[in-house]
Assembly symmetry: C2
C-alpha cells in the first residue's frame, strides 16, 4: 500500500494506530475501566430509555453496536458513548411531536431520528463542517444543559410519585404533577424516596466513607461507590419482588426481551424525515458539542489530540449503528466519560469491553429486572441530572457582561418554558443577534501619544499628548455594513465646520475587515473632508485590509496618506512646534 | 412655553423652524421646483399605481396628503415623497398574496399595507430603531434595486405588447410573455414602442439639444426635458382619441374619478394584518433605506443635517396619510428628489406645492386622461426603472471581495428568481452569515519588532526582529464564542511540547470584546500553558476589555502579565542579549 493512502486510512480509522501497539498494561487498564463503566451504564441505559419514552431495552441496545462503532472511528481514548440524559430528553420532545408514546410508530421514529442524526454527523465530518458547532456559545450551552437538567428532574417526579403527568415544558409539567398529586402511590413514593436518599448519600461519598471506615481499601471503596445505582437497583428490585409491591401499584420495568440487539430499519417516509429533520440537526449539534467538550477536556489532561472532524465521523457511525439495532440517538456522556478516564481507560478498547458487558446484560440479566421499580430508575436519573444543573452561570455571566447574561437567561427561560428545541434555537439566535448588535455600535476612542513612547491610547483614560489640529480616532471594530453609516456620522460630527482640525487620522489597529459598504462610507467621508479642506488619513492598516484597498481606486482619491504606524502619522501631520516665547 | 418643551416640539415638527424664517426667495425657488416635480409626478403616479396593481387614481391620491404630512414632519428639504417604483412592485407582490387584482379587497389591502407600514415607521422613529436599517448592507440594497428594476421593466413589457402576462418573478413572467406573444396588439405595440423611443431620446438629452438648437435658453430647455413624459402622455392620448385606437385593442386608462382624495379606512381583520405584517416590515425598511440615502446625499451637498429618527416619523406620517386617503405605501423617491433638488427646492414647502398641483390634477385633469394608453405609462416606467439598473455593482464587488460579491449575487438571483420579499430576506441573511463566518475564522498574525521603532508587524509581510523563546500572536478579531475554540486550537498548536518557546504574548490591539465563552477559552489556554511551563501574557488590551477582565479572577490566575504596550512586553520578556562571542 502506498504510504499516503495508508496515512489517509489510518486517519479515518484511528483503531489501526492504537490497536497495533496495544499492550498488556493497556488491556488490564481498559478491562478495569470497562467493568466500572458497565456497572454504571446498566441502570443508566434503562433509565434514559424510559426518559426518551422508549422501552428500557432500547437503552441497552443503544449501548452495544454504537459503542463498538465509536471505538473503530473515534479519536478520544476516554469518551464513553451511549444514551445520555439531555439527548434522551430531546429525543422524547422530537418524537412526541410525531407519534404517541407506546405506539408502534414511536420506536420507529426514534430509529429514524438516530439515522438522520448519524447521516448529518457523518456529512458534517466529511465536509469538515464541525465549525458549525462553534456558533453555539459555551455560555448558551451551559444554560441549556442546566435548564434541561431541571426539566428532566421535574419530569421524573411523576415516576417517584407513581402518577401520570406529561409535559415537555415546566409550565405544562408542574400543573399536571400538582393535579395528579392526590393519586400518588404510597409504596412507590417510599421506594422512590429511599432510592433517592440512598443515591444522594452515595454520591456525596457516604458509601465510600462508610466502607473505608469498615476497613475497605479506599480504591476499592471508590469503585463500590460507583456501584451505588446498581445497589439501589438490586435492593429495590428484591424488595418489590419479596413484598409483592408490583401488585400494590408500584410500576415495574416488566418483561424485557432476552436477546442481543435486533436488526431494525428506521422509518423513511418523507413526512417523517421532514418532521424530524430540524430536531435531528439540533440533537446532532448539541450531542457533538457536549461530546467534543468532554473529549477535549480529557485529552488535554493526557496531552492527547482530538480531531473534531473525525469525532463527527465516530459519533455519526455510532448513531447509524443505533438506528439499525433498535437504539436511539447517542453521544458521548459527561459523567461516564469522566469515570472511564479516572478508572484508567487507556484506549477505545475500554468502550468495546463495555459493549461486551452490555451484551452480556442483554442476554443474561434482563429476566432479573422484571421487578425493578421505575421509581428507582427515576431516582437514578434525578441524581445524575442534578449534577448537570449549574445556576452559577447566571451569576458569573451577570458579573461579566449583560450580553452574556441575557443570552444565558433567554436560553434557560426558553428551554424551561417552551421546550428543548426552542431553548437551543433561542440561545443561538440571541447570542448571534447580541454579537451583531455589539459590532454595529463599535467603541470609538480618540487617542493621543503616551509621553516618552511611540504608543497611542484613549485620551479619556490616559494622560497623553494631543494637538488641536490633529484628531486621531481609533474605531474598535471591523468596518462593515452594519456600522458603516454610524462611522460616517461619527467622523463627520467630530469635525465641526468651524473647529481648528486640519487632519483626521483613522487608526485601524482594530479594523480587521472593510467591506464594500464600509468602503463606500469611507469614500463619502473622504469626499466630505476634501470639501472642508480637512486631510483624511489612515494608520496601522493591517496587511489583508491593505491588500484589498489596493485593489480599488480609494487610495488614489484619498485626500491624505496611509501611515504604517500611528507614530509616523503623528510626526508627519503635527504642525512644526511653535517657537519658544521670546525666541524670536 | 418652557424653552426645553419648545425645543422638543421644534425637533418633532421641523416645519416650525423653517416656516418662521420663510423668505420670498425661498417661495419662488420652491414654486419653480414644485411645478417641475408636478409635471414629472402626474404620469409617474398613474404609472406606479398600475404597477402596484391599483387603479391609476390611487397614485394621485398617494401624492397629496402623504406629501403634505411629510412636509410637516420630515427633515429633508429636497426629498420628494410619493409612489416609487420598487415600493410599488413590493406592494403588488405583497397584496397579490392576499387578494385578486381588481377585486374589492385589493385596494383595501393596499390601504392596510400603508397603514401597517406607517405604524411601523412611526414606532421605529419613537423607539429610535432606525439602526435596524443598518443591517441592510449597501451592496445588498444596490443588488436588490437593480434586480427590482429588471423585474419591473420585464413586467411592463406586457402593456407595451398589449397582452396579459402575470408573474412576480422572472421565471414565471418570461414564459408567460412568450406564450402570449402571438396575441400582441399591433396598435398598442406601435404606441408603446414610439413612446419608449421618444422617452429614451428625451432622457439622453435629445429633446433638450433640439430645443437649444432652435434657440431656446438652456435652462428652459432643461425644464422642457423633464416634461418629456407629459409630452408622451399628451401625444399618445390625442392620437388614441383621434384615431379611435381604443376600439382597435389599445388598452386605455379609462374613467378616473374627478375628485379630491376620498376618506378611506384600511382593512383591519386579524388575518389580513398577519399576512401583511412581514411584507409591511420589508417595505418600511426598504423604503426608509432608499429614502434616507437620497435625503442624506442631497443634504450633505448643502451642509444640511438629516435626523434619521425624525425621518422615520415623517415617512410614517406620510404612509398613515396614504392609508386614510385612498393611497398605498409611499417613500422618498430617488429620481424626483434629485430633480427637486436641482430645480432649487429650498424647503419642504416645495413638496406642499407639489401636493397642491396633484390636487388640481385630481380635480381638473382626470377627464382628459380617459384615452391615455396604458402602454405609454408602461414606457414611462421602463425608462424610469432602467435608470435604477446598475449591474456594475457585480463587477465592483467581485474585484473587491468574494464575500460582498456573493451577497450581491444572491440578492439579485433571489429577487429575480423568487420575488422581491425573498430577495431582500436572502440578501440580509447572506450578508449577516458571511460576516459571522468571517469573524469566526479570524486572521492571526505572528508579529515581530520593526527595527528602530516600537512597532510590531506580521513576520510574513515585514522584516522584523523576533526571538525564538518569545512568540507574539496578534488575533485580528474580537474573541467571542464563534472563534473561542479556534483560538484555543491555534495557541496550543503554536507551542509544540518540545519547542524553545518560553513566553506567549497575545497582542490584543484588534480585540474589541472578549465574551464569557472566550474568557473560558483563555482560562483553558492559561492552565495548559502553566502545565507546560510557558508564560502567557497579554498586551495592548483596550480599556473596555480590561475593565471587564478586572471584574473576573482571570488576571489573578494569569500565568504572566498584562503589558500596556507590546514594546514593553518585548523588553521585559526577551532574554538578556547573549554575550558577544569572545567576550567571555
Amino acid at each position: 500500500m502506498r504510504p499516503a493512502l495508508r496515512t489517509a486510512i489510518a486517519a479515518r480509522l484511528p483503531i489501526l494506530t492504537w490497536a497495533r501497539r496495544y499492550s498488556r498494561a493497556e488491556l488490564s487498564a481498559d478491562l478495569i475501566a470497562a467493568v466500572i463503566v458497565t456497572i454504571m451504564l446498566i441502570p443508566q441505559s434503562l433509565a434514559y430509555a424510559l426518559l426518551a419514552g422508549l422501552p428500557p431495552e432500547a437503552g441497552i441496545y443503544a449501548s452495544i453496536l454504537p459503542i463498538l462503532l465509536y471505538a473503530l472511528f473515534g479519536t478520544s481514548r476516554a469518551l464513553a458513548v451511549g444514551p445520555v440524559a439531555v439527548v434522551s430528553l430531546m429525543t422524547a420532545a422530537a418524537i412526541g411531536g410525531v407519534a404517541e408514546q407506546g405506539a408502534a410508530g414511536y420506536a420507529v421514529a426514534a430509529l429514524t431520528l438516530a439515522f438522520l442524526s448519524g447521516l448529518m454527523l457523518v456529512a458534517m465530518g466529511i465536509f469538515r463542517l464541525g465549525f458549525i458547532a462553534n456558533f453555539l456559545s459555551h455560555t448558551v450551552v451551559s444554560g441549556f444543559i442546566t435548564a434541561s437538567g431541571i426539566l428532566i428532574a421535574a419530569s421524573q417526579l411523576k415516576s417517584i410519585l407513581g402518577i401520570r403527568a406529561e409535559g415537555d415544558t415546566l409550565p405544562s409539567l408542574l400543573p399536571a404533577l400538582v393535579a395528579h398529586l392526590p393519586a400518588s402511590s404510597l409504596p412507590t413514593l417510599l421506594i422512590g424516596a429511599l432510592a433517592l436518599a440512598f443515591l444522594f448519600w452515595v454520591r456525596r461519598g457516604g458509601l465510600k466513607r462508610a466502607l473505608v471506615a469498615r476497613g475497605l481499601a479506599p480504591g476499592l471503596a471508590d469503585v463500590a461507590g460507583k456501584a451505588g445505582p446498581v445497589a439501589a437497583v438490586v435492593g429495590t428490585t428484591l424488595a418489590t419482588w419479596a413484598l409483592g409491591l408490583a401488585d400494590r401499584g408500584v410500576a415495574v420495568v416488566g418483561h424485557v426481551p432476552q436477546s442481543l440487539p435486533p436488526f431494525t430499519l428506521p422509518g423513511l417516509s418523507p413526512a417523517l424525515l421532514r418532521d424530524l429533520f430540524l430536531p435531528a440537526l439540533l440533537i446532532s449539534i448539541i450531542g457533538f458539542v457536549e461530546s467534543i467538550s468532554v473529549a477535549q477536556t480529557l485529552a488535554a489532561k493526557r496531552r492527547q489530540r482530538i480531531d473534531p472532524d473525525q469525532e463527527l465521523l465516530g459519533l455519526g457511525a455510532a448513531n447509524l449503528g443505533a438506528a439499525f439495532t433498535g437504539g436511539y440517538p447517542v453521544t458521548g456522556g459527561f459523567a461516564r466519560s469522566v469515570v472511564n478516564f479516572d478508572a484508567g481507560a487507556a484506549t477505545p478498547a475500554a468502550g468495546a469491553f463495555t459493549a461486551l458487558g452490555l451484551a452480556f446484560a442483554a442476554l443474561a440479566l434482563t429476566p432479573l429486572i422484571f421487578f425493578l421499580p421505575k421509581a428507582t430508575l427515576a431516582a437514578t436519573i434525578i441524581v445524575a441530572v442534578l449534577g448537570l444543573v449549574d445556576l452559577s452561570v447566571l451569576k458569573r455571566s451577570w458579573a461579566y457582561s449583560r450580553g452574556d447574561f441575557a443570552a444565558v437567561l433567554a436560553t434557560i427561560l426558553a428551554t424551561l418554558g417552551l421546550g428543548v428545541e426552542a431553548g437551543v434555537s433561542t440561545g443561538v439566535l440571541v447570542s448571534l443577534l447580541l454579537f451583531l448588535w455589539h459590532t454595529s455600535r463599535p467603541h470609538v476612542a480618540e487617542v493621543g501619544l503616551v509621553p516618552g513612547t511611540e504608543h497611542f491610547r484613549n485620551i479619556r483614560r490616559h494622560t497623553v499628548l494631543t494637538d488641536p489640529s490633529l484628531v486621531t480616532l481609533r474605531v474598535d471594530e471591523s468596518l462593515y455594513f452594519a456600522n458603516a453609516r454610524r462611522l460616517e456620522d461619527l467622523l463627520l460630527n467630530r469635525v465641526a465646520p468651524d473647529c481648528p482640525v486640519k487632519h483626521v487620522v483613522l487608526m485601524c489597529t482594530a479594523v480587521n475587515e472593510i467591506d464594500l459598504s464600509a468602503l463606500e462610507a469611507l469614500e463619502a467621508i473622504n469626499a466630505r473632508f476634501r470639501d472642508m479642506g480637512v486631510g483624511f488619513h489612515l494608520s496601522e492598516v493591517k496587511g489583508p485590509v491593505m491588500d484589498r484597498l489596493k485593489r480599488t481606486d480609494f487610495l488614489q482619491h484619498l485626500n491624505g496618506q496611509v501611515f504604517l504606524t500611528q507614530y509616523q502619522a503623528w510626526q508627519a501631520l503635527r504642525p512644526a512646534p511653535a517657537p519658544l516665547p521670546g525666541a524670536a
